[in-house]
């Protein structure tokens, strides 16, 4: 009986080598086999659901002050207590997730697209385009990232605008580097030469042949990069040159709570934990997606 079981149930975590002509598991069952993908997905989904439904979950206004009940410890009414102005901490925490995650996603859209476009063009066509792109990316890499962020944030004034401008300026570099490298190596593949002899134009080879092969890797990089963007948003908020109060933001929350470290340590710790939680969720998701796509090909 024991041997029978061993023959029929594949070991957990191993992917049996499939003979050509058969298909591996698809869709949901394949996703379920990757713990990192599941964990990251569930963690992020939970946060997003909370952020979307917080007006119905919490009876409190995130900016309404109630000085009669300030600095309260966690209770049944205030799940995570209240801050120095009597605002409900849980409500502010989740509204801050709205602010910070929203800016994070928006700030990455343009860099993601432009970076991939620049990288593809440079990697596929090579020549002087490639030379210029490498020169620019290498120069930017040599700069300390936060120096650029802080300079641009100062120059453009506090708020989300500075963050958007910074990432439009420097965010594309990561994606350009990744897609340039991949495009340059895929260009040597014979299916690209075949597409050329079939008389397909360059734009079509870029969009239909190279892009689908680069996108998975770029999305994995996007996940890790978003963690960096989030930390940058929070850092700017903490330094007072990011999101302006009273808009809830994890960075300003951490900074505000600092004065009450000895009496109400959770004021800083909870938003700090939220940043770590989101970071872990995104990293797991990135790892899981990489795993998923690696198994597929």
């Amino acid at each position: 009986m024991k041997t029978e079981r061993m023959l029929t149930t594949p070991e957990i975590g191993t992917d049996p080598v499939l003979p050509p002509g058969t298909r591996g598991p698809r869709g949901w069952s394949r996703i379920r086999r990757i713990p990192a993908l599941m964990a990251g997905g569930v963690m992020l989904l939970l946060l997003i659901l909370l952020a979307v439904f917080i007006p119905w979950i919490s009876p409190f206004d995130p900016t309404a002050q109630d000085l009669s009940s300030f600095l309260q410890p966690p209770s049944a009414e205030h799940w995570l207590g209240t801050d120095q102005l009597g605002r409900d901490l849980f409500t502010r925490l989740i509204y801050a997730a709205r602010t910070d995650l929203g800016i994070m996603v928006l700030a990455e859209i343009i860099p993601f697209c432009s970076g991939i476009a620049i990288g593809l063009l440079a990697g596929y066509y090579g020549g002087w385009v490639n030379t210029i792109v490498s020169l620019v990316t290498d120069t930017f890499i040599a700069f300390p990232f936060y120096l650029i962020v802080i300079i641009v944030a100062f120059a453009s004034g506090a708020g989300a605008k500075g963050i958007y401008i910074t990432f439009v300026l420097v965010g594309w570099i990561v994606f350009a580097r990744v897609s340039r490298g991949l495009a340059a190596s895929l260009r040597e593949q014979e299916w690209i030469a075949s597409a050329q002899t079939l008389g397909l134009p360059g734009w079509r080879i870029l969009l239909r042949h190279l892009l689908p092969n680069i996108l998975p890797q770029a999305v994995v990089v996007l996940m890790t990069d978003m963690v960096g963007v989030l930390v940058a948003i929070v850092t700017l908020g903490y330094l007072g040159i990011g999101i302006a109060p009273p808009t809830p933001d994890w960075g300003t929350m951490i900074a505000d709570g600092q004065s009450f470290m000895t009496t109400a340590w959770w004021l800083s710790a909870v938003p700090g934990f939220a940043v770590v939680y989101t970071g872990i969720a995104l990293s797991l998701l990135g790892d899981g997606l990489a795993d998923l796509w690696r198994r597929k090909s």
Binding site: P20, Q189, E190, W191, S194, T197, L198, G199, N213
Partner: protein
């Protein structure tokens, strides 16, 4: 459809290195030129130059009397198709077989409507003897030999006049090599194609060629009808190549019969 290929004084340089020196060749319509030579001899460079994948520094090429420009038009590219050595790299891993076979058909508007495209894809699969249900599969679901068949079907989709085969069987298992080669010969006869066939395997060259060209260090050292080359090679290098073939008694006089693939 078939056309002759004429290569006149073609020279290819990579930076300071000259990969092809002043090469002149003629492949008559509906014949096969077998191109042999050790690696680095310029065989693949010649193939890629003919296919328009690299631009020669000097010289001119014509196909069926019409000049092939340095910057090829889409029409000119379509006339010459290439089959590559490595079946793992010759198909886009993210495209289904239907996508691979229909892409050029749709782009060049060679078929009208969905039904006709589907019909043409099935015909192409039939030509390379693959089942019609292959259309929805992806390259990783096929063996090396099957992938090479798909690559052949893709090349045929644009109805080329000249087919370049760059070591199409050397990455395959010996048992599969024969099948793919037989298929290749059959298609060549049926479609009356002019072929440039590259191989370092003299047995294969003997089986497919009408004419044999021997290359060494970017130059053409021997260019002769197959019968003459395999019996009486003109150059010392040609004799060396033939002598290097294992277990093939060239000197025995019955070379013709023993040299099979």
């Amino acid at each position: 459809m078939s056309a002759d290929l004429r290569i006149e004084h073609v020279q290819v340089r990579y930076g300071g290195f000259t990969a092809l020196h002043d090469l002149t060749l003629h492949v008559p319509a509906n014949t096969t030129l077998g191109l042999v030579g050790e690696s680095g001899s310029g065989k693949s460079t010649l193939a890629r130059a003919v296919a328009g994948l690299i631009v020669p520094a000097e010289g001119r090429m014509t196909l069926g009397g019409r000049a092939l420009d340095k910057r090829r038009s889409r029409e000119q590219r379509k006339q010459i198709q290439m089959i590559f050595q490595n079946p793992d790299a010759s198909l886009n891993p993210r495209h289904s077989v239907r996508g691979i076979l229909s892409e050029a058909l749709l782009f060049h508007k060679m078929t009208r409507g969905r039904a006709q495209t589907e019909q043409r894809c099935r015909e192409l699969l039939e030509q390379v003897r693959l089942p019609a249900d292959s259309l929805d599969k992806y390259p990783h679901e096929f063996s090396g030999g099957q992938r090479q068949r798909i690559a052949i079907a893709r090349a045929l989709s644009v109805e080329p006049e000249l087919l370049i085969a760059d070591e199409p069987t050397s990455a395959l298992d010996v048992s599969v090599q024969r099948d793919v080669l037989e298929l290749f010969l059959e298609i060549r006869e049926r479609l009356k194609l002019t072929v440039l066939f590259i191989s370092h395997d003299l047995g294969v060259i003997h089986a497919v060629s009408d004419t044999v060209a021997v290359m060494r260090q970017g130059e053409l050292v021997e260019f002769a009808p197959k019968e003459r080359f395999f019996v009486r090679p003109e150059t010392e290098y040609g004799r060396e190549l033939l002598a290097a073939v294992p277990k093939m008694p060239i000197a025995a006089g019955s070379a013709e019969r023993n040299l099979t693939f």
